[in-house]
């Protein structure tokens, strides 16, 4: 395997981690917003 390919593998792995971080933060923000759509179960009937 060439040094260039090694370097590309390394950057792709780092990119993967950064993309996953953004995806996780987005999922957390969207989950918060999804709370708005769930009826409040603690409300008295």
């Amino acid at each position: 395997m060439s040094a260039r390919e090694d370097e590309i593998r390394r950057v792709v792995a780092e990119l993967d981690i950064q993309v996953a971080e953004v995806e996780a933060s987005l999922a957390a923000l969207k989950a918060l917003l999804a709370e708005d759509e769930v009826p409040n179960e603690e409300d008295p009937a």
């Binding site: 950057v11 950064q18 971080e21 923000l29 709370e35």
Partner: protein, 160 residues
């Protein structure tokens, strides 16, 4: 490209996602490839059910489906890896991660989500935590842009 006997369900998912295709699109592509080669395959809704099972590894696709996958992705992955002078596995991984990066929102869209999340009190997160989460997401987005630029430079792509 590897023989399809050593391809995992995860590979099938990565191949599909490297094209930005959802499962129904994958089903349509399989049916199109089958038509082109005169093969008889399951109906669209049957494929939509089977593809996730193959990708999760719950079931193994039969030979005729493995051949269709090779027909769809074989030449494309070969072209991709040859064009970049890379091994097919690196080219595939690169295409998959780039495809995910391309689907990320821009910083303004994250700020809009942050504002919507801050618009009401939340049970699970304080406003400071929400702000920190959005700031971290934007920070990682900048890192993504930097890494994409680094890759383009390594691949000798024109960034103008």
């Amino acid at each position: 490209m590897r023989a399809l006997t050593d391809v995992t369900g995860e590979n099938l998912r990565q191949w599909r996602e490297s094209q930005g295709w959802d499962v129904p699109r994958m089903a349509r592509e399989l049916r199109k490839a089958a038509r082109d080669s005169g093969e008889d395959v399951a109906a669209h809704h049957g494929l939509v059910r089977m593809i996730p099972q193959w990708e999760r590894g719950n079931r193994v696709p039969r030979e005729r489906y493995r051949l269709l996958y090779r027909q769809i992705f074989g030449s494309g992955l070969g072209d991709l890896s040859q064009g970049m002078a890379l091994g097919a596995d690196v080219a595939l991984r690169l295409a998959e991660v780039r495809s995910r990066a391309a689907r990320l929102p821009d910083p303004d869209q994250i700020r809009a989500l942050e504002a919507a999340a801050l618009a009401k009190p939340r049970k699970t997160m304080t406003p400071a935590e929400i702000r920190a989460l959005a700031a971290a997401a934007i920070g990682h987005l900048h890192e993504v842009a930097g890494k994409l630029g680094e890759l383009s430079a390594l691949l000798g792509e024109d960034q103008s």
